[in-house]
């Protein structure tokens, strides 16, 4: 379906990325009206020497959120839920969660990450089918970052709550509803949700080298199943799912309704009720990204071209590889190039206003002034060693700073918001999540 030279170019990028170690295995699939194309390179399991194939399932991480959103939207279309419905009306058993109850957070706010939930609450509650119910019982003290509807802050917990709403309203355990939808409704074969699914397929896994030893990247906790910790799919199946969404205009309309713009993001323009809006709030290219330990994934759906592409890879520099692939994919699928979002504003002269400590659930971000008009970021968890230490942030304008994570990393933007009267920012937006300034010193 795509030109031969495009196919060869895409294959060459994957082969080069495997050869230079940026990825272990990568698979790319395009599905559209006129057919399908897939290419693959590398090994699904390096120490076990298992080659990746186009049937290999890769963890799709938060792309699962788009599937959860689809299932919610099916209920909305059926009239069983509405966007404006408060969460605790949809699932009264969640009334014990103060933040949901007191701010009357709605289904639409959960779908678009505008509920203000301090949302990276990730912990184990077991392996069984009752994980979402158990998880809900443990999050009654979840915090709030801002007034619901005011801003955006990516919240895994929001999608776990949506998963629980699906269970309560649909009468089926989420893992079963998800499996039935993908396998039976969508007719997809290479879907792995539970560990027993993963042992019967080629499942791409990543190992990190720590002190000279290979350490497997563990699967995410089942408690985060609805936000994307466990689902793995083959890329042809993911692309088929993506293009299949387009058969239902009402669903697409719902998922892509522009809710909140994020102009300070390197990668995309904003968020709809479930979908990431890629090329501007009015544009139609939408999708989602995903990341689990060791795997990153990307899904793009182009309604006008009736085409979807999916890419996932294991390894340390997947984002950088995807950024090489995306222009080729846009060309191959006749989707225009991505707009340049680089801000036109001037870089600030006084960087001391950014200095300070910013926090969200479980994480602390300390900003200090570095050398040559840069900021330095150190990030650590309440219970974890520093995850980022001395990351250099270069100002692009008053709000947006650019950085690169790791030697092979792709550029990423971080931003500051809610500047007070003396020009000091109160919010720090890092990896799609807000953190609020505290009174603590940064050093």
């Amino acid at each position: 379906m795509i030109a031969r030279n495009s196919a060869e170019e895409l294959q060459a990028v994957l082969d080069a990325a495997c050869a230079d170690g940026r990825i272990d295995a990568g698979c790319l699939a395009i599905a559209g009206q006129s057919g399908e194309h897939a290419c693959v390179a590398g090994r699904a399991n390096v120490p076990e020497d298992i080659a990746a194939t186009t049937d290999t399932v890769l963890h799709i991480g938060s792309i699962t959120k788009l599937i959860t959103a689809e299932l919610i939207w099916r209920m909305i279309v059926d009239g069983a839920l509405t966007l404006e419905m408060p969460v605790i009306e949809a699932a009264p058993e969640l009334a014990h969660i103060e933040t949901l109850r007191d701010s009357a957070i709605t289904i639409g706010q959960l779908l678009s990450h505008t509920g203000g939930l301090d949302g990276d609450v990730i912990f184990e509650v077991g392996r069984g089918p009752d994980v979402l119910r158990k998880f809900m019982a443990e999050i009654d003290e979840i915090g709030s970052l801002f007034t619901p509807g005011d801003r955006f802050s990516y919240a895994n917990v929001a999608y776990n709550i949506l998963g629980r709403i699906l269970e309560v309203r649909g009468g089926k355990v989420y893992q079963d509803a998800l499996g039935r939808h993908l396998r039976e409704d969508c007719g997809l074969a290479h879907i792995a949700i539970l560990p027993e699914d993963k042992i019967r397929m080629r499942t791409a896994v990543h190992f990190s080298t720590i002190d000279g030893e290979l350490v497997p990247s563990t699967f995410g906790p089942n408690s985060n199943i609805a936000s994307g910790a466990v689902l793995a799919m083959s890329m042809p199946d993911l692309a088929r799912w993506g293009v299949g969404l387009l058969d239902n205009a009402e669903l697409v309309e719902g998922l892509t309704t522009p809710v909140i713009a994020l102009p300070h993001n390197y990668r995309f323009e904003g968020w709809g009720y479930g979908a990431i809006l890629l090329d501007g709030m009015g544009s139609r290219l939408f999708g989602h990204d995903g990341g689990t330990e060791g795997t990153s994934s990307f899904l793009r759906i182009a309604p006008e071209q009736k085409t979807a592409w999916a890419f996932a890879a294991t390894g340390d520099a997947v984002l950088a590889v995807y950024r090489e692939l995306e222009p080729l994919l846009r060309e191959a699928c006749a989707v225009g190039s991505a707009p340049d979002r680089r801000p036109a504003g001037e870089a600030p002269t006084d960087l001391s206003i950014y200095e300070g400590c910013y926090r969200r659930h479980g994480m602390r971000f300390r900003i200090t002034v570095g050398e040559e008009s840069t900021l330095l970021l150190r990030a650590d968890g309440d219970a974890t060693p520093p995850v980022l230490d001395g990351l250099v942030l270069e100002p692009l304008d008053r709000s947006i700073f650019e950085t690169r994570v790791g030697e092979l990393g792709a550029p990423t933007w971080l931003s500051f918001h809610e500047f007070d009267d003396s020009g000091v920012p109160q919010l720090f937006f890092v990896i799609e999540r807000m953190a609020r300034r505290t009174g603590e010193a940064a050093s």
Binding site: E48, G126, G128, P195
Partner: protein
């Protein structure tokens, strides 16, 4: 005898797997502590991933010997008394019926507790799976009084596993890892598919008579029966390392305990013996010790002869695994020991006394058996209560008073026996290692 040549072994396993329509197979032999291993075929016909000697397979009930090893280790450490009532450790009623009574860890290990056993109930994936199963064990029937007859009981091994959990305050799987697998460097072995997914891991296959295989639908069995052997994935190489612990002794199990585990506790109708977690078969002047295991579509065997310091392990994922085992292991056993691990079974007799006393319906938790008489033999229709298995129909040929032999799944040396455990003239049926009580009400 010297160790088999690796190249020669490779040729032999490829032929044996092909002949027996086994999709994937791994095999290992160890003589005087030196191991040779080989593998052939695929772990999964759908993925086409090849089997290597360190690939994981489900080893089924071989795990019972691991559980018994852990119990003996706990006894060495003074944490349990294998001759004390189990109720001392698990203070709830386990089992019911007129013949209910106190039973011990020793009886559980030797399958002589009298408890019915094929309990395959899913109590979830969480760490409390085994504790939850115990609550259900209160409804388990005693087929006979404790200590009286052998009847293979997987539920008994689940109870043994729970005893270990109570004593150590950890999950069975964690105890197995910390106290046995890690110390013997069997680090690929795991009870969890979450871990197995990082290795080449075999799935079971159903193979038809033409050798056409398909992957079974159920690739993982309930966690609660892990201590009885539904969960553990291992490799032939790690099984050999484990067998060598039993042959040579190790920090995890001293030689006296190892010898106690393989000493005879009870004799079966086919003349074989059961120890504490191990079966033993005498043949050609040699006593073979080992265990077989199976899950859905997978089969494994681990047998060893301590005096020859010989151990053989095979894991296979479908097809006629019994014949593959005989093709591969028996020539080695024959050469080293002058015999094979198979009991001598008498040939059928022609003129037999009245068979009508055996006609009836027999039952236990796993199977209902309908027995009818046909001139010089009995006919059995066995209806499994689990996993939607098809009925199995087979003849029983008399070989002596109350004893019959039959052919099942390619093995023609299975012995069934009838006897009277309930002292009311109603024979029970010993079949496939389990007792079945007469339930049709016809007092003979």
């Amino acid at each position: 005898m010297t160790q088999p040549d690796a190249a020669d072994l490779q040729v032999r396993i490829e032929l044996a797997a092909k002949t027996a329509h086994v999709p994937g197979l791994a095999f290992a032999v160890s003589l005087t502590g030196e191991m040779v291993s080989a593998a052939t075929g695929v772990v999964n016909i759908e993925t086409g991933v090849e089997v290597l000697p360190d690939s994981l397979f489900q080893i089924g009930s071989i795990t019972k010997s691991h559980t018994a090893t852990l119990a003996m280790q706990a006894a060495e450490d003074g944490l349990i008394d294998i001759d004390a009532p189990v109720s001392q450790y698990i203070p709830i009623q386990l089992g019911r019926g007129p013949e209910a009574g106190p039973f011990t860890a020793r009886q559980l290990m030797a399958h002589i507790s009298g408890l019915d056993g094929d309990l395959f109930i899913d109590t979830g994936r969480d760490d409390d799976a085994l504790a939850r199963l115990m609550v259900l064990c209160k409804d388990l029937d005693f087929l006979t009084a404790p200590g009286r007859y052998y009847s293979y009981s997987s539920a008994g091994y689940a109870i043994l596993g729970r005893m270990l959990e109570v004593v150590y305050g950890q999950s069975y799987e964690q105890i197995l890892k910390d106290r046995l697998l890690d110390p013997i460097e069997a680090t690929r072995s795991t009870c969890f598919a979450e871990n197995a997914a990082f290795c080449r891991t075999s799935v079971g296959h159903e193979v038809d008579e033409d050798g056409k295989a398909r992957v079974v639908s159920l690739t993982l069995l309930p966690r609660a029966m892990g201590a009885a052997g539904l969960s553990l994935f291992s490799t032939v190489e790690e099984l050999i390392a484990y067998a060598n612990v039993h042959i040579f002794g190790h920090d995890v199990l001293n030689r006296a305990s190892a010898e106690a585990m393989r000493a005879v506790q009870t004799e079966l109708p086919d003349g074989s013996e059961w120890g504490l977690g191990w079966k033993a078969i005498r043949n050609g002047g040699t006593r073979f010790v080992g265990h077989d295991g199976g899950t859905i579509g997978q089969a494994a065997a681990l047998w060893f002869v301590p005096e020859h310091e010989l151990a053989i392990a095979m894991c296979a994922n479908g097809g006629d695994t019994q014949h593959a085992w005989q093709d591969l292991a028996y020539p080695i056993f024959q050469e080293v020991c002058g015999g094979v691990p198979e009991p001598d079974i008498p040939e059928p007799v022609k003129n037999v006394a009245d068979l009508s006393r055996y006609v009836g319906v027999y039952d236990n938790i796993g199977v209902t058996m309908h027995v009818t008489a046909e001139s010089d033999r009995l006919k059995v229709v066995a209806k499994s209560k689990f996993f939607g298995f098809d009925d199995v129909v087979f003849p029983l040929h008399p070989i002596g008073e109350g004893r019959f032999r039959c052919e099942l799944y390619g093995n023609d040396k299975i012995v069934n026996a009838f006897f009277d455990p309930d002292e009311q003239g109603r024979p029970a049926l010993f079949y496939a290692g389990r007792l079945h009580r007469r339930v049709d009400g016809a007092v003979v």
